[in-house]
Amino acid sequence: MKNEQLLNKLAKQARREQTPSIDVTDDVMAAIAARTAPVNGDSQLALSALAWTAGVAVAITLVVTLLTMPLWRTATGPATEILIAMQI
């Protein structure tokens, strides 16, 4: 028997297979509900608290960065310190 015929015979039999019966209605509706759920009051409060915390952290970082800029300009590496000492 040629492979083409074998394939057709296999496929014909395979099409008669009883496939598992499942019910996904509840799971799909739950997945959809989870994706469309409006943001409730508690979640909005948590989000705004998070936004404020992030904003304050950014502001503090900026202030600290500005204050440390002069120190950064005067800072020297350890190798420079050794060379200066050797010149003396």
Binding site: K9, V24, V28, I32
Partner: protein
């Protein structure tokens, strides 16, 4: 083909019931009653009555589940894939233009979902289990046919060794029993591409079959 020319509606397990088969031909013919019901449910969904989608799921889940069984024979993955098809459909409801039957649109989503699953799984291609190799003699005997589950498992094992594109075209052509035109609609490929892809895939499959069954001789 129109409903008037169709001679019989063949409903076999796992086959899409809206396929009207006549004299060996396969073609799509919209199930107008079901389509009207689908459209009514869809319009209510779009109007904000999301619960109506559960009716759509209830109407189509058996067919979608049967189709997704071609893409995986793992029960857990099968259920997840079936769910994914409906979630994808729900997310894409806005793109359904009501020009084609809803079932066709849903079938395309199912095909894409299954194909994407295969692409993710392609590193885990299986090898033909040795215990399935003895089937050639059984298949060669005209009067004997393997059990449907046995045949489906063997075909699944063989097809799983092909790249996803080859596997998809053969699954649709042989297991779903779709015509070239319908395979093209389902995949979004041209009819010419479907023909070429089928020939290439079948050639690869025949080599696999020769290797699988030739080794035991």
């Amino acid at each position: 083909m129109t409903a008037a020319t169709a001679t019989a509606v063949m409903r076999t397990p796992g086959q899409w019931p809206w396929l009207l088969l006549s004299a060996g031909q396969t073609a799509y013919a919209p199930d107008t009653g079901g389509q009207a019901e689908d459209l009514a449910n869809l319009r209510e969904c779009r109007d904000g009555n999301g619960d109506r989608f559960s009716r759509i799921i209830a109407r189509h889940q058996d067919r979608v589940a049967a189709m997704m069984w071609r893409f995986t024979r793992n029960p857990q993955a099968h259920e997840e894939l079936t769910q994914e098809v409906f979630v994808q459909a729900w997310q894409s409801l806005g793109t359904y233009r009501e020009r084609a039957p809803f079932v066709n649109w849903l079938a395309r989503i199912a095909t894409r979902t299954g194909y994407r699953y295969w692409q993710q799984q392609k590193r885990e291609r299986s090898r033909v289990p040795l215990e399935l190799k003895g089937l050639e003699d059984k298949l060669a005997d005209e009067g004997v046919a393997p059990e449907p589950t046995e045949a489906a498992e063997l075909l699944y094992s063989l097809l799983s060794q092909l790249p996803p594109r080859d596997r998809l075209v053969l699954t649709l052509r042989y297991l779903e029993d779709l015509s070239v035109a319908e395979t093209a609609r389902r995949t979004g490929w041209s009819s010419a591409l479907v023909k070429v892809q089928t020939l290439r895939a079948r050639s690869k499959l025949e080599k696999l079959m020769q290797n699988a069954w030739g080794m035991q001789r």
